[in-house]
Symmetry: C2
Subunit: 218 residues, 2 copies
């Protein structure tokens, strides 16, 4: 694996996990020595992160981890809705019903109430997303959704889903999978709309319950 890829993956992970909170200044020499790579591959990693929107160049000498607030989350979900509804429509039109029927069965079996099965459930969602992308067969759409999902990783950490929300999410995904399997584009799109609406509501209530995570206050 290339050093630039390692630096990108590691920085991405640390930003998503919160080890590098918003506002953190990412100096090239500092991060390069910290990650054990040279400045050249680290610069490439920083440019990729900037292209994703995870870091911003405030001045030519200050690249910082980008902030993400409640308004950003709303904006992100607006784009997400536009793209995922389109993906659901395309998947319903072109997808293989058997694949999504099987996914629906997997969702039916999923019971993410247990803590250990939470990761399994997120993996199942990732499989579902991959199946939708494959069925939509639109590289531009997949690329745009990849960026959105990258940011979503940060949101998921900010607002940890509670068990009730996870159970509801299972049911919502199952409805979407069934709609795609049935080849009903509008049903799939509207089920996606509902799912994202509930997901956003859950995130916003979780964030308003918790005090907003502050970064540098002593």
């Amino acid at each position: 694996m290339r050093a630039s890829d390692r630096a990108y993956t590691e920085l991405l992970r640390q930003i998503q996990v919160g080890a590098l909170p918003p506002g953190t200044v990412l100096g090239e020499v500092e991060q390069a020595s910290r990650l054990g790579v040279s400045r050249t591959p680290l610069r490439e990693a920083l440019r990729r992160l900037a292209s994703d929107g995870l870091v911003v160049q405030q001045s030519p000498r200050m690249t910082v981890v980008s902030d993400i607030d409640v308004d950003d989350i709303r904006s992100l979900f607006e784009v997400r809705r536009a793209l995922e509804e389109t993906a659901a429509r395309l998947a319903a039109r072109h997808g293989d019903p058997a694949v999504f029927a099987a996914l629906s069965a997997d969702f039916a079996r999923a019971a993410p109430a247990e803590g250990s099965e939470r990761e399994d459930y997120y993996a199942l969602i990732a499989r579902f997303d991959a199946a939708v992308d494959a069925a939509a067969a639109n590289d531009y759409l997949t690329a745009a959704l990849r960026t959105v999902r990258t940011h979503l990783g940060r949101v998921r950490r900010l607002a940890r889903d509670n068990p009730e929300r996870l159970a509801a999410s299972v049911a919502e995904h199952r409805v979407i999978a069934d709609a795609i399997a049935a080849g009903d584009p509008e049903l799939a799109a509207h089920a996606t709309h509902l799912h994202l609406h509930h997901a956003l509501t859950s995130v916003l209530t979780a964030l308003s319950a918790d005090p907003a995570p502050v970064k540098g206050t002593p």
Copy 2:
């Protein structure tokens, strides 16, 4: 201006114009010497182009200008429709009516039948897009649309609009601007849908009329 920015801008322009047709192999040393920069900034430019999807790394030693065929154009317009309809809805909700009323008046004055006014008209469209982006006030949406529009530059070159299409495009844009000025989100979204449908149809007919531009046949 940084050398990496110059390299990126120049390569982007040459790809969009067609000076670097799809399939062209972009060797680092060759392009670096050709553009008069070193390999380091050129590598950054190449990575940005790859992030945009304009070049692909077929193998670690072959980065080529990505191909774009009729199916790609259809896919691109699917994503474009999803994003621009959303942008139109948001602009109708949050935008300043005066701004879009003024733009509507500008479209009313525009008469791109003359060859010299073609560039002026494209500039007016760019202004309109910028106004929609500003009114939508959604950075994620703007970023996603930026990528789409980058690819659209190539399509526009492949299928040169004829005067009738340009005149129709003026009228369509004016309808969208009026809908946004009136604060009617659904009308703005549907007008955008119609506009993109006609634009895609025009592109596809133009491409089926012209034989598909072949690259390496002697």
